[in-house]
């Protein structure tokens, strides 16, 4: 659950922190770069959430 909150905080609530043009990263304005990076990072977070949830369910003795 916390891992899933991460993308929400990063791409939604924290907008005043990253909504700037500079520094340009790879030629992209910083806000555009930031969001593009999170398109790649979000699956990583969810992948983590998926495995944690699975592990928790197995511990409970549920079906794998």
């Amino acid at each position: 659950m916390l891992l899933a909150l991460l993308p929400f905080i990063a791409t939604c609530f924290s907008v005043p922190l990253w909504d700037t043009v500079y520094p340009l990263v790879l030629g992209l304005p910083f806000n555009l770069f930031w969001l593009t990076a999170w398109i790649l990072l979000t699956p990583l977070c969810m992948w983590g959430a998926y495995y944690l949830e699975r592990a928790a369910a197995e511990k409970e003795g549920g079906k794998p």
Partner: protein, 485 residues
């Protein structure tokens, strides 16, 4: 041959070939209601997910996103954020929806409300609202098709005529083949779209500025405020951004057709795993924004931002290439339009008409009614498309403002035992009324917030308050829903 003949020939050629492939795929099945609307529930996981993933590659992404990058600037960035977050939301709710769907044999979103709250009037109301807000989404696709025809004919075909042609094409397509054809054609569409977007997203900035970075450097120098919120608008600031991202990421799976599509997955685990990887599908969207940003400096005087991608391609490349891009765009409008028409028509025929007025109808009669409704609903969308001039993104946001009002009913229905039918009904009515009041009255954004989000908050408050004031109800879901991960 003139340029417009070449471009239109290429578009119609590609659309015709793709349709032929799709018809061939559908021809082997007898078309009853089940086949026509849900393809007999016999889709493999791959096809279901192509349909669902393909959902993000609509005219909205193709022309609308570049259009907003052109006309509004930074507010268009919300598009990059909300899709990935929509999949995050889906990770937590879709497996539960799937689980109750399987237990009670649900087919539509309306079935969910009927089973959970035990009221056919609530269920019919949900369907009606769903259909009502599918209309602007459909209007979006038809407008997009109209724009493509207009540009590809180099202005030779006027917008209204172009939309009439588009309407006839899509309706014929839906009539003849139903959902199965849509699924197959969406494979072709996604590949073509992927190629088109990445190619023009890189080639256009290179052609005019020598690179994406150089394009942005030039843009920052020319228009320093365009690239940060509120971009070239006065009202779309940070609070608008946050409220819009929340509204649309919650609302994504509240679309009746997407909600229903989750029932056809093989297991709840499939839904979870897909939610993990689906955000990667959105990686092409930045390229579409690049095109819109390039157009600002190259074609500064467009009257309608939604034209920016096609107008720039028309200016830069030969006619046959405009044809290919136009065809990719036409398919990205036709497939979602077909899916939306099917969903709206079946929902109305089955979950409004049969449920309330004619419980004795047979499936065949429902299928016939649904087919005629396809024409009615599309004609309505066509009427709005011809007589209104809002941007494509604004149309989508109107749809989202409406369908997201289902969110409290769905989430409380799954996770809060105390929620009651009158509570959800009242919340939904208040939410929709607020959307209508704020949006039709031109009060969007409201106090710097997205009007749909304001409505959603009121909806939540009313749902909770009325639920607590009315006596608790037993729910069909009452035995604890356990989802095996």
């Amino acid at each position: 041959m003139s340029d417009s003949t070449i471009a239109l020939t290429v578009i119609f050629g590609i659309v015709a070939v793709s349709s032929a492939v799709a018809f061939y795929a559908g021809a082997r099945y007898k078309m009853d209601l089940e086949q026509w609307s849900v393809a007999g529930r016999g889709f493999g996981v791959l096809l279901v997910w192509l349909l669902m993933a393909g959902e993000i590659y609509t005219t909205f992404a193709f022309l609308g996103a570049s259009g907003w990058a052109y006309s509004r600037g930074a507010p268009a960035l919300y598009i990059l954020a909300y899709l990935a977050l929509a999949y995050v939301v889906s990770f937590f709710i879709l497996p539960y929806i799937w689980e109750v769907g399987r237990r009670f044999g649900m087919q539509t979103q309306s079935d969910f409300f009927e089973k959970r709250y035990g009221s056919k009037y609530l269920a019919a109301f949900v369907s009606l609202v769903g259909v009502a807000f599918i209309v602007p989404y459909l209007q979006l696709q038809l407008t997009g098709l109209g724009i493509i025809m207009e540009v590809a004919s180099y202005g030779g075909i006027k917008r209204a005529v172009a939309m009439l042609i588009a309407f006839a094409l899509v309706a014929a397509f839906v009539f003849a083949s139903g959902l199965r054809a849509a699924a197959w054609i969406s494979v072709i569409k996604d590949l073509l779209m992927l190629f088109a977007v990445v190619f023009v997203g890189i080639a256009l900035p290179y052609h005019y500025f020598g690179g994406i970075g150089k394009m942005f450097a030039a843009l920052v120098a020319a228009k320093p405020t365009h690239l940060v919120l509120p971009g070239s608008t006065k009202v779309m600031g940070e609070s608008w951004y946050i409220s819009t991202v929340l509204l649309t990421s919650f609302g994504f799976y509240m679309w009746p057709h997407l909600f229903a599509a989750s029932f056809s997955a093989k297991s709840s685990d499939t839904l979870r795993r897909n939610a993990v990887f689906m955000p990667l599908y959105t990686i092409t969207l930045p390229f579409i924004l690049f095109v819109g940003f390039t157009a600002i400096l190259v074609l500064p005087n467009l009257t309608n931002g939604d034209l920016s991608l096609l107008a720039l391609v028309q200016k830069t490349f030969p006619a046959w290439f405009l044809g290919i891009i136009g065809a990719a765009g036409a398919l990205t409008a036709m497939v979602p339009a077909a899916v939306l028409m099917l969903a709206a028509a079946t929902l109305f025929a089955k979950n409004v008409w049969r449920l309330i007025f004619a419980p004795t109808m047979t499936d065949d009669q429902v299928a016939r009614l649904a087919k005629s409704l396809v024409v009615v609903i599309t004609a309505l969308a066509l009427y709005f498309a011809i007589y209104s001039s809002t941007t494509l993104v604004a149309l989508l946001l109107t749809g989202y403002a409406g369908v997201t009002q289902f969110f409290p009913g769905v989430v409380f229905g799954l996770f809060w035992k105390r929620v009651t039918m009158p509570g959800v009904f009242a919340g939904l009515v208040v939410g929709i009324a607020t959307v209508a009041f704020l949006m039709l009255g031109g009060r969007d954004p409201f106090l710097g917030l997205n009007a749909g989000f304001v409505s959603l908050c009121l909806n939540f408050v009313v749902t909770v308050a009325v639920s607590l004031l009315t006596p608790a109800q037993a729910s069909a879901f009452d035995e604890p829903v356990r989802v095996a991960p």
